[in-house]
Symmetry: C2
Subunit: 149 residues, 2 copies
């Protein structure tokens, strides 16, 4: 790699970091009481992929230490948004199930974000994202795979 290209890669991650911070702030401003983006992300994954997965599966999916996932799940359970049951296939493990309240909470959060997304869409139309998102996915996939070596 030409060393003159290095700043470009730093700039990429810099922009991504700032957007992440802004989007998280935007998001959390619409979530009630003690619930954060991390809680929403887990609920969202339980619906988008499937529920019944183990805490460790979820920790790997979200790239967080398992202790962090334990903490996040305990918060979700305290709010009645998920239930933890023993894993019938492994006595050490548990399975995470989303509750009706959890599903409603997630749907409401998504609906609440729609106006914000519409404001962004007015500036950046979907056609421009159709090209952008796959490129980010490509980068994410590579980094995710690269990490495991």
């Amino acid at each position: 790699m030409d060393s003159r290209d290095l700043p470009l890669y730093f700039e990429l991650f810099n922009e991504i970091g700032i957007i992440e911070q802004l989007s998280r702030a935007l998001f959390e401003a619409r979530l009630p009481n003690g619930l954060l983006a991390s809680h929403f992300a887990v609920l969202n994954g339980l619906i988008r992929v499937r529920d019944g997965r183990t805490p460790l599966d979820l920790a790997r999916a979200y790239q967080v230490p398992k202790t962090t996932m334990t903490h996040t799940l305990s918060g979700l359970e305290r709010h009645g948004l998920v239930t933890l049951r023993p894993n019938p296939k492994d006595g050490r493990s548990k399975c995470v199930w989303i509750t009706p309240a959890g599903r409603k909470f997630r749907d409401d959060a998504v609906a609440g974000m729609a106006p914000e997304m519409a404001r962004l869409a007015a500036e950046i139309p979907p056609e421009r994202l159709a090209d952008l998102v796959p490129r980010l996915t490509e980068i994410r996939r590579f980094m995710d795979a690269d990490r495991e070596e």
Copy 2:
């Protein structure tokens, strides 16, 4: 906005969130002792833009509460990487200056990341970023401006 476009925007922020997490982990793995990405980011900004700015300026630049910036700066000062001096133009305020040690620390961190960036560059060549980064910048600028209303 067509409601069918909504998932695309969620996917955008989802990808950005994951990449941010992976890049931060990659980055912090290369930083010594008690120093995190937040510390590096501040040092980097003091060099990229200029030093001598106030803590509040920095807090705004990085979209963090001023209490968080106070904490981050105290950590940097404890490690001798920045110095805080009274602001000659405002008795309530201070100015943040990077030290030679801080400059060296930042340069070393950048150099240490070069191999990681090179691995990414082997997969995603700079030509593809040349187009990607400005688009992210556009989104970031809009969100940043939108936030202040």
